[in-house]
């Protein structure tokens, strides 16, 4: 994967033909796995992730249990073949950091106090990585928690904005992430208009940072809409057909 001469062409189109503020084609499916308590599959273009939820279950070892709420474990993990160069088996430092960041986002909206002394496990598996795996993973994990019936204050919708050839763009693909100037993953709880995850790798002016947050917010509201549609579809399938 080498750098294209330009990441945005004369017509303002990106390497995959999108406009700067355009999301990639998104696919969401809920309940894709049988043996977990909740699951979801999410695609953002070439990025493909599955998330699954187990629990609430008894926390063990016992001394880790909390008297007033459930603990939430989270593992973000990539298959070895999800990336260009084979990823070694085991957890990389990057995967450990992202597991923390995703877990903290999920804890923010989940009513863990309803399950004292319990544990909830969330697993995010990246099947293919083409940029925005943590935001797709968080979007999927939030759907999987909903699928598992976990009480939540809101869904989390997430997307990255970035700076590419000096211009702000929405929903970076791998090429843009790699050769762009900045990558800023953002997650929000739209109902509360609050930031749930935020990172910035790269440099932005204060002006760009503010515009970037607004652009992320636009993308997030589209993703949030898709999440709610996916959940509606899932639960209407489950609902008894009217006579």
């Amino acid at each position: 994967m080498s750098r294209p001469e330009r990441l945005i062409d004369n017509n303002g189109r990106r390497v995959d033909g999108r406009r700067p503020d355009e999301l990639r084609p998104i696919k969401m499916e809920i309940g894709v796995l049988d043996k977990s308590d909740g699951s979801a599959y999410v695609e953002f273009g070439g990025t493909k992730v599955i998330a699954a939820v187990f629990g609430p279950r008894e926390a063990h070892p016992r001394h880790l249990a909390l008297p007033d709420r459930a603990i939430l474990n989270c593992r973000y993990h990539m298959t070895s073949f999800s990336v260009e160069e084979r990823k070694p088996l085991g957890m990389t430092r990057r995967e450990i950091e992202l597991s923390k960041v995703i877990r903290e986002a999920l804890e923010t909206v989940t009513f863990l106090e309803e399950f004292p002394r319990a544990a909830i496990d969330v697993y995010v598996e990246v099947i293919q990585a083409d940029g925005g795996t943590r935001t797709a993973g968080l979007t999927a994990a939030s759907l999987a928690l909903a699928d598992a019936g976990m009480p939540m204050a809101d869904l989390i919708a997430a997307v990255a904005v970035g700076k590419v050839d000096g211009q702000l763009v929405l929903d970076l693909c791998d090429l843009e992430d790699k050769y762009g100037e900045a990558d800023m993953p953002v997650a929000m709880a739209p109902r509360f208009n609050s930031i749930i995850m935020l990172q910035l790798n790269g440099r932005m002016s204060v002006e760009e940072f503010k515009k970037g947050l607004a652009l992320a917010q636009k993308g997030i509201s589209e993703i949030y809409h898709l999440q709610r549609e996916a959940l509606k579809k899932k639960f209407s399938e489950l609902a008894p057909k009217e006579a």
């Binding site: 796995l33 043996k35 298959t79 073949f81 088996l89």
Partner: protein, 278 residues
């Protein structure tokens, strides 16, 4: 050290139920004793892997991907490419799988698939040599169990073979004595198509391809493989318990029949180049 996990408290009741059904030639999900669950094979789903296949057998789902690099051969086989099989029982797939490095079950799965591929010379490793003694193609066959509803052995081998059969491997040329990537790709020819069938024994009865509820209460289980010549390619008793020796003949017969069924399905759905055929 690992130890064999304890059985469900309700296991005894379920075992008796499954055994009673078996006596009538029936199973809890309506299958006959030697019926396999429906098999679904999807290949080429992933673009960053040189080969990939998602295989389901009932609700059990396996994703295998193949990555190819150029590396050194083993010293005692200087003119052959190499391959490695890994298997991870992802915690996503079952509450009974833990995150962390592969435990003994994952290792057993990987090694059973590895032996099935290696001992029968399924892959012609001599065709994967670039510079004798120095540079060869190195294949990583990585198996992930995504959803575990019993018997991860059979679909894992199917997915490994499907990923191999459909892999597009970048061709290297030797330029100035060094391997250099070209824009071309080639497919692997396979010398043979061994498949396995997992066998569960209860009392003097047996069944194939146990789903999870069955698997948990079997008296004993084993995995048996066979190829298109009807040769046995693999045996692995993979649980505590006694196999009555007089049961082996009918087990072998059933395995040969049913791996034949898998093979026909595979050949219908996967575009495989078999060595010696055109």
């Amino acid at each position: 050290m690992a130890f064999t996990p304890k059985k469900d408290l309700t296991a005894k009741i379920m075992r008796d139920k499954i055994y009673s059904l078996l006596l009538q030639g029936k199973r809890i999900d309506g299958r006959r004793p030697t019926d396999l669950r429906p098999i679904k094979i999807e290949t080429g789903l992933l673009s960053k892997a040189e080969g990939s296949a998602l295989v389901s057998m009932g609700s059990t789902k396996i994703l295998t991907g193949i990555k190819v690099e150029v590396g050194a051969p083993f010293p005692d086989r200087p003119d052959e490419g190499t391959f490695t099989v890994n298997a991870e029982l992802l915690p996503l797939a079952s509450a009974s799988f833990e995150p962390g490095p592969p435990d003994e079950r994952g290792i057993e799965l990987a090694r059973v698939v590895d032996r099935s591929l290696r001992e029968g010379g399924v892959i012609d490793l001599k065709k994967l040599c670039l510079i004798e003694g120095e540079k060869v193609y190195v294949l990583f066959i990585d198996i992930y169990v995504l959803d575990y509803d019993g018997n991860y052995f059979d679909p894992s081998l199917i997915s490994a073979l499907a990923a191999l059969a459909t892999a597009k491997i970048p061709r290297y040329e030797i330029v100035d004595g060094k391997p250099q990537k070209t824009d071309e790709y080639f497919s692997l020819e396979l010398n043979s198509l061994p498949f396995t069938a997992m066998v569960g024994v209860i009392g003097e009865k047996f069944l194939l391809d146990p789903q999870l509820e069955e698997e948990k209460v079997l008296d004993v289980s084993l995995v048996v493989g066979a190829d298109e010549k009807g040769d046995i390619t693999c045996v692995q008793k993979n649980s505590p318990g006694q196999i009555p020796i007089e049961l082996m003949d009918s087990i072998i017969d059933a395995v040969i029949e049913k791996t034949g069924e898998i093979r026909r399905k595979f050949l219908q759905e996967v575009p495989v180049k078999l060595a010696g055929r055109t």
